[in-house]
């Protein structure tokens, strides 16, 4: 990671205005968005949008031609180009020909993408952005930090300062007055402009219509007052039918700003009259700029389902800490990372793709149903192929891929950690490793790993066997979690076997883009876990469970290793997470809880993979209730804790503040106990409380259930 990039992160997370504004917004957004979608079947709605947009992406060429034909039949001029430079040249030539001196613009990300303002200004044309946020950042000589709210990173004081220095002195930091000031200053610009430039939210092929969505009313003025209207439209905005706009208009305002509909929606088809009665010149530029390349890529075609609502930014635990500018100059956040890699170039996404912690929040809310985390992993994989992995990472994975060496080294580590160990924690590490223990203690490595401990547990030798896939953390740091799991299942008469040849699940390699390493891990585990005929392969780590259930298959598919899929699917069908299996056993009355006892309050932290991939959020809560605990929900219970596997080692400056927020939310419940189903989250959250000296217990669900079952 480049130093300048690390510095931009450091500056952003230490900018209290920025993190405060974004933090408050993201908290409110979650609630307001849910309210805006009340009574709407979001899953059905986004299936419709996906269908409409994906069908359009599959027939881009035909839709472009149909749009051109139909818009031109209504008097528009349509210019198609793949090249951003040609867009600028077209507009400059038009401006010259028509004697355009002044331009007003409504918000257009496509124009940001090609840096149009700069080109116009260099040609001596006055350009005014009219969306308030865009105008502010134009005056401040900045770029938008958010696709929907370009100036969200600024305080009213900063805005006042910009108005005072760039427009007219004497303004006070009073928001309604600042807005009034903007209205008064921009009104003459609208009335005096020769050309209006807009984007479009949707373009309809069968009618040649443009759909433009705004709240301020600026787009209505931009498209009504100047005698020439130029619309710059990325070709991913095309839909086939007029009726296709309905699901998009239903979702866009709800997802973008939690509104049922924006104040204004304008549907423009062909030439309309100017205020002097003449027909308005309408020029529509259909811009490709690698969008057709994306459509041809089987993985990335789905990114064209984006409707630019920016909800992936609004729910991202990283975005709300660092804001948009860390991501780059145009498109920001999760989808922005992907668009930057395509519209700009793959290597521009090298640093920013690493910001993704893979929590999956964005995938859940995306109205285009885009698997953003998966696409970011795919970028990571392609970057690793193109540029190679960093040396240190390479060395680590060569160890991980050698099971015997890896396990041997972990045992060795138990000896070398001794100088740093205090009880069950490592609280400080020397020199360049100190970042890792700055904000949370790390767990010490266990003297006897679980793979050896399990041999000492006397188990019922029954007919029913379940294989335990422990994952590295339980095996080497938290064997007590493994022990609890075995004892719980023993109570149902199940014998737990531990296939000795199991190794790392490959998540660290996969999430670093090293798919070949992950594939080797997958194959080793598949061989080990299918060796004995068991009913289930249970794991008490959600990330491992997801690896067994989905990622092994995904990795093989990505690498074209189709011959390995059959066995991977066989394993996937057997894989199950601890709480889901136990809940099943309780429902079948194979496990019963001891007589009622009030064990006090607990709060539950939803681990990312358990909640959003495995969809198991109720089972652990219900089991804890039946065990005798009372649930007090925390705020943002399913927000990532900042662990993200190796993420917390690569980007501790982001992991730490995410954890800090989680700890605060837990403390606010006043519950003395926090329970979760992931040893990684336990490591992060328990380590955080240890560092603070807080007396809150942090445990895996298995540890709290074991003594409460008959």
């Amino acid at each position: 990671m480049k130093t300048a990039f690390k510095e931009s992160i450091h500056a952003a997370v230490n900018n209290a205005n920025l993190t405060g504004a974004l933090g408050r917004f993201s908290e409110a957004y979650r609630v307001n968005r849910a309210k805006a979608y009340e009574g709407i079947d979001f899953e059905a709605l986004r299936e419709r949008i996906k269908a409409v947009k994906s069908s359009a992406a599959g027939q881009q060429e035909a839709l472009c031609e149909a749009f051109k034909r139909n818009a031109e039949a209504k008097g528009a001029k349509v210019f198609r180009t793949a090249d951003p430079a040609a867009v600028k040249a077209y507009i400059l030539a038009l401006a010259k020909e028509k004697g355009v001196k002044r331009v007003v613009k409504s918000k257009s990300m496509a124009s940001e993408e090609i840096h149009l303002n700069k080109a116009l200004e260099e040609a001596g044309i006055q350009v005014n952005e009219t969306d308030l946020g865009e105008w502010i950042i134009q005056l401040a000589h900045q770029t938008p930090s958010h696709m929907v709210m370009p100036a969200i990173h600024m305080t009213k004081e900063e805005v006042t300062e910009i108005f005072n220095t760039e427009v007219e002195s004497g303004q006070a930091p009073d928001i309604p007055k600042l807005v009034k000031f903007a209205r008064a200053k921009l009104r003459p610009m609208f009335l005096g402009a020769d050309m209006g430039i807009s984007g479009a939210n949707i373009a309809v092929a069968e009618t040649g219509s443009l759909v433009i969505v705004t709240n301020e009313g600026n787009a209505r003025l931009v498209t009504s007052l100047p005698r020439i209207h130029v619309a710059i439209v990325g070709i991913e905005k095309l839909v086939e039918h007029f009726k296709d706009i309905q699901p998009i208009l239903q979702a866009l305002p709800r997802s973008a700003t939690a509104q049922l509909l924006t104040s204004y929606v304008s549907i423009i088809t062909g030439q309309v009259p100017n205020t002097d009665g003449s027909p308005k010149e309408l020029h529509i530029i259909l811009m490709d700029n690698h969008r057709s390349d994306m459509a041809k890529d089987p993985k990335f075609k789905q990114a064209l389902q984006c409707i630019r609502c920016a909800s992936c930014l609004n729910v991202c635990p990283v975005f709300r800490l660092v804001g948009g500018h860390v991501f780059g100059k145009v498109y920001t956040g999760g989808i922005g990372t992907i668009l930057t890699a395509w519209f700009d170039e793959l290597k521009k996404s090298d640093d920013i793709q690493a910001l993704c912690i893979q929590c999956g929040n964005c995938k859940e809310v995306c109205p285009g149903k885009i698997d953003i985390p998966e696409l970011i992993l795919e970028l990571r994989r392609r970057l690793a192929v193109e540029q190679g992995q960093p040396l240190v990472q390479k060395a680590i994975f060569s160890v991980v891929n050698n099971r015997r060496l890896f396990h041997g080294m972990l045992r060795m580590a138990w000896l070398t950690q001794k100088p740093f160990k205090q009880g069950k924690f490592i609280r400080h590490l020397p020199m360049f490793l100190s970042d890792l223990t700055d904000f949370r203690s790390l767990p010490a490595i266990a003297e006897v790993p679980f793979r050896d401990q399990i041999k000492q547990i006397r188990q019922p030798k029954g007919k029913e066997k379940v294989a335990f896939y422990s994952g590295c953390l339980i095996d080497f740091s938290y064997p007590e979690m493994g022990e609890a799991l075995v004892k719980v299942l023993n109570k149902a008469g199940i014998e737990v076997v531990f296939p000795d040849k199991q190794t790392c699940c490959g998540a660290p390699a996969r999430y670093s883009g090293a798919y070949e390493v992950a594939a080797q891990n997958a194959q080793d585990n598949i061989d080990a876990l299918l060796e004995e005929d068991v009913k289930y392969v249970v794991s008490a780590c959600p990330t491992c469970t997801v690896a067994l259930k989905q990622d092994f298959i995904g990795t093989f598919e990505s690498l074209g290793m189709t011959d390995r899929l059959e066995k991977a699917q066989k394993l996937a069908a057997k894989a199950i997470d601890f709480s889901t299996l136990v809940k099943q056993l309780v429902d079948e009355k194979r496990l019963t809880f001891k007589e009622g006892k009030d064990l006090g309050a607990f709060t539950y932290h939803d681990s990312c993979h358990l909640k959003r991939t495995l969809k198991a959020s109720e089972a652990p809560r219900e089991l804890m209730r039946q065990a005798g605990y009372q649930l007090t929900e925390m705020a943002e219970c399913d927000m990532c804790c900042g662990m993200g596997g190796s993420y917390s080692l690569k980007l501790p400056e982001i992991s730490a503040p995410i954890l800090e927020r989680k700890l605060q939310n837990i403390k606010a419940t006043h519950a003395p106990l926090t329970v979760m189903d992931c040893p990684g989250c336990v490591m992060q959250i328990r380590g955080g409380f240890d560092k603070e000296g807080a007396a809150i217990q942090v445990e895996h669900t298995a540890q709290r259930l074991v003594d409460r079952l008959e």
Binding site: G133, I152, M154, V204, E216, L260, Y264, S266
Partner: protein, 177 residues
């Protein structure tokens, strides 16, 4: 129709619109006249109100000659809407005629008249009824102009009107008869 109206009113009010309903056109126009008087549209040297479309009302300070200068100088713009969408509190209009857009965008107050019978449940119902091949500029309006671009603080009235007054008329033609 009452159910649709109630839903429209609730949703439009969430979007900061003012919603009124009258049994006939006469009463509705009385209400508009009252609003025009209150705004003092007859007091300036230029007409204080611009009205696009049918001449439903002659009153001092009201001009039916809608130019950009007249609209930019007026306090109140008045127009008639084609539909009202209940579930989002949205007004819809074929605004191909530029006068329709001027009166609903430039003055600080927009008064929108619409027949109660023009209420539709939602956007889908409207899209079935309108043809973009015939209407070059379909305008949908939900509440007044708004922004939250500074510190996410909702502020009403940026480039468009800061007040949207919706006037439903149950029997629009009786006043004319």
């Amino acid at each position: 129709m009452n159910t649709l109206y109630d839903l429209f009113k609730a949703r439009a009010e969430i979007a900061s619109a003012e919603v009124h309903r009258f049994p006939d056109q006469g009463e509705a126009l009385e209400f508009v006249l009252g609003l025009l008087r209150e705004q003092g549209v007859a007091e300036g040297p230029q007409p204080g109100a611009v009205w696009a479309g049918r001449r439903l009302l002659e009153a001092p300070g009201v001009s039916f000659d809608v130019t950009r200068e007249a609209a930019a100088g007026a306090k109140v713009g008045i127009s008639e809407m084609d539909w009202a969408l209940a579930d989002t509190g949205t007004l819809v209009q074929d605004a191909t005629a530029v006068e329709q857009r001027l009166v609903s965008t430039l003055p600080p107050i927009h008064v929108a008249l619409v027949g109660t019978g023009q209420l539709l449940p939602d956007l889908a119902a409207m899209l079935d009824r309108i043809d973009p091949g015939k209407a070059g500029f379909i305008a949908m309006i939900t509440g007044p102009s708004r922004t939250a671009d500074i510190e996410r603080v909702l502020t009403i009235g940026v480039h468009g009107p800061h007040r949207l007054v919706v006037v439903f008329v149950d029997q629009p033609e009786r006043g004319n008869a």
